[in-house]
């Protein structure tokens, strides 16, 4: 365990940049936290915290210069690896004959700064789906290789967070190269830092101002324990997957359908949703055709389309697909939950539908 001061933090970014890493981290833009390329620690938001609730997101100044008092914005790290729009191949036609030119997978060193514990789990979940099955998404694998992660433990959870219920936070326990816990503010920000890989260890050894002392660790433990007790939401997952699997014709699905707009916000914002479709287009001469992979959502009519109509015609059926996939069938398919408890689907739902509330309502009165 190390102590990292702000200048040490900067040093780490410098050495990553020198090694050719492209650095992405949180930034303040148009009143929200977004993930973007950052030049230095100075690009990180300071002294802000968010107020999140169902259908609500607002940033507010804290009055101090704390580095990480906010939590998640609407975009997640998945956009860096599972690209929203990805060309797959180009087909050219010469007479009746086809030539296919696959898009080469692109590798590249990426450093992610400020990855929250629930987001580490989201990356692990997408790895499982897109990169660890019988077939893999080559583009995902290529861009996911060579990633360096600086995780930040949460000391100030958001109003829609429930990582404690999902067992994914507020403390990162794996999947990082370096993890940080912010201690103190008011001009005295410092971090307890841990290495999760030899590369992380090497950078920390060079950049830290020494080993963390007993009192630092004591303070860290208190902050993290307080955070765990401060979750905006909770979800009782005991027996939930099984109860939801039997919830097919629960009346709550029709009830939520009256509120759901099928806008797809929840699936776009969700860091684990991986559904995608393909689009085909031809150029004006008709001799070149492109095939592109784009994000999709189970809230669209096309998602379940079979000739003649959609299998899931009603919003109730689509909402049921979404919620039961996240919290129930994901376990059968991939050996764990598809939800990290990040709360984005709650915050970014225009009508404030809350997954924890809906799951509880369905389970609370489940039949059988």
């Amino acid at each position: 365990m190390f102590i990292l001061e702000p200048d040490g933090f900067e040093k780490i970014l410098d050495s990553l940049r020198e090694k050719g890493y492209r650095i992405t981290g949180p930034k303040l833009r148009d009143g929200a936290i977004v993930l973007d390329t950052i030049d230095s620690a100075a690009s990180l938001p300071r002294g802000v915290r968010d107020h999140q609730g169902p259908g609500r997101y607002r940033l507010e100044e804290t009055g101090d210069d704390s580095w990480f008092s906010y939590t998640l914005g609407s975009d997640s790290w998945k956009k860096l690896f599972f690209h929203p729009i990805k060309p797959l191949f180009k087909t050219t036609r010469d007479g009746g004959l086809l030539q296919i030119e696959p898009e080469p997978p692109r590798e590249g060193l990426k450093a992610l700064i400020g990855v929250r514990p629930c987001e580490l789990q989201a990356l692990a979940i997408q790895d499982k789906v897109l990169a660890e099955g019988e077939f893999v998404d080559r583009h995902y694998v290529a861009s996911r290789k060579g990633t360096f992660i600086v995780a930040v433990n949460c000391t100030v959870p958001g109003g829609t967070c429930f990582c404690v219920s999902m067992g994914t936070g507020p403390v990162a326990d794996r999947g990082y190269d370096i993890s940080l816990t912010e201690l103190g503010s008011n001009g005295a920000t410092r971090f307890v830092a841990r290495a999760g890989s030899p590369h992380g260890e090497e950078l920390l050894a060079a950049a830290s101002s020494g080993k963390a002392g007993e009192s630092d660790l004591q303070l860290e433990a208190e902050l993290l324990e307080a955070a765990a007790g401060n979750m905006g939401r909770s979800l009782d997952v005991e027996g939930l997957a099984a109860a939801l699997a039997e919830s097919g014709d629960h009346p709550r699905w029709e009830e939520v359908a009256e509120r759901c707009q099928a806008c797809t916000n929840c699936t776009m914002a969700c860091p684990t949703c991986y559904c995608h479709t393909v689009e085909d287009s031809t150029d004006l001469t008709g001799s070149v055709a492109d095939r592109t992979r784009v994000w999709d959502s189970c809230f669209t009519a096309d998602h379940s389309y079979l000739h003649g109509g959609s299998v899931r015609e009603t919003r109730g059926a689509r909402y049921r697909q979404w919620l039961t996939h996240k919290l129930s069938s994901w376990h059968d398919q991939f050996g764990g939950s598809g939800c990290t408890g990040c709360g984005r689907c709650i915050t970014w739902c225009p009508v404030g539908i809350d997954i924890t509330e809906e799951a509880q309502a369905v389970r609370g009165t489940a039949r059988g």
Binding site: L97, I100, E134, Y176
Partner: protein, 291 residues
């Protein structure tokens, strides 16, 4: 401490050096009309190699240049060498574009993907095939496989329902198979027409009277979902065991390899753990609305 926790210990594991999302180009050798809206395509790889080996019940993703890509079961012989065969009903954009292909045209093929009919379980016992409409196409490879090695299997019974007499697929083959005592062929149509003196009614009616006497027989069903459900129920009533009945499911598919999320059916991922399922594996889902 693993070497690169932030990164992933992944290799670009791709089978045979082929990206599963990139098609192999095949040329159309010939297109044969089966009836007014169904045709069978014969294809060979444009690179001069052999078509991919497959098992009865598997499907390919067929891509038409700039138009779209669809899942289609393989309808040819899984044992004998020969061109890749697909029997396709024209229902929309891609299937209609396919119907317009001419010999010499090229299409993209990815696959074969998915689970297969458990023909191996039929060795030494009876096979009952229940098909509705285009559902006979994915089952034809089973018929080829059994008739190609006839003595290994017991009795084979085909119960087939079509909408009308002129929509019956593979008519000449059905006659040949039935006539040579390779298989009992029973066909019914929803509505008769002049010159039809066979059965009229749904396929479940055929099941009620079918010669199913040997225990341990297996049943393979393919057709519309509701037809599969009623057929399975009728077979159970006739004393067949749940774990000897198989069905082939259908959902929208964009990738065919378990990555795109489209073919989910409850907890099932049809392109990956299906399309062929043992009946008791999906019994609780069949008949549920909008799953």
């Amino acid at each position: 401490m693993s070497p690169e926790p932030g990164s992933i210990n992944l290799t670009d594991r791709i089978r045979g050096g082929v990206d599963p999302m990139v098609p192999r180009i095949y040329n159309v050798e010939r297109i044969r009309r089966n009836n007014h809206d169904t045709f069978t395509m014969e294809l060979n790889p444009a690179d001069g190699g052999n078509p991919e080996p497959f098992s009865a019940g598997q499907f390919n993703m067929l891509y038409i240049f700039g138009v779209g890509e669809i899942p289609v079961s393989i309808s040819g012989d899984p044992v004998q060498d020969g061109p890749l065969m697909h029997t396709i009903r024209e229902v929309g954009t891609v299937t209609r574009a396919m119907a317009r292909l001419k010999p010499g045209d090229s299409i993209g093929v990815r696959g074969p993907f998915g689970s297969h009919w458990p023909v191996e379980l039929a060795v030494g016992t009876d096979v009952v095939i229940v098909a509705g409409g285009i559902g006979l196409a994915p089952l034809r490879p089973v018929i080829y496989q059994v008739t190609g090695n006839r003595s290994r299997y017991g009795r084979m019974v085909l119960l087939y329902g079509a909408r009308a007499p002129k929509e019956i697929l593979y008519q000449r083959q059905l006659k040949a198979w039935g006539g040579s005592f390779d298989m009992d062929v029973h066909v019914t149509v929803d509505r008769g027409e002049r010159g039809w003196n066979g059965e009229i009614g749904v396929v479940t009616g055929l099941i009620r009277r079918a010669p199913l006497d040997r225990s341990g027989a297996i049943a393979l069903i393919c057709g519309p979902e509701i037809m599969m459900r009623f057929s399975a129920q009728e077979l159970l009533r006739r004393g067949m065991d749940k774990d000897r009945i198989y069905v082939s499911m259908e959902r929208n598919m964009k990738c065919g390899v378990g990555l795109c999320g489209h073919c989910q059916y409850g907890a099932k991922i049809i392109c990956k753990d299906g399309p062929v399922y043992r009946y008791d594996d999906i019994e609780s889902l069949l008949g549920r609305r909008e799953v």
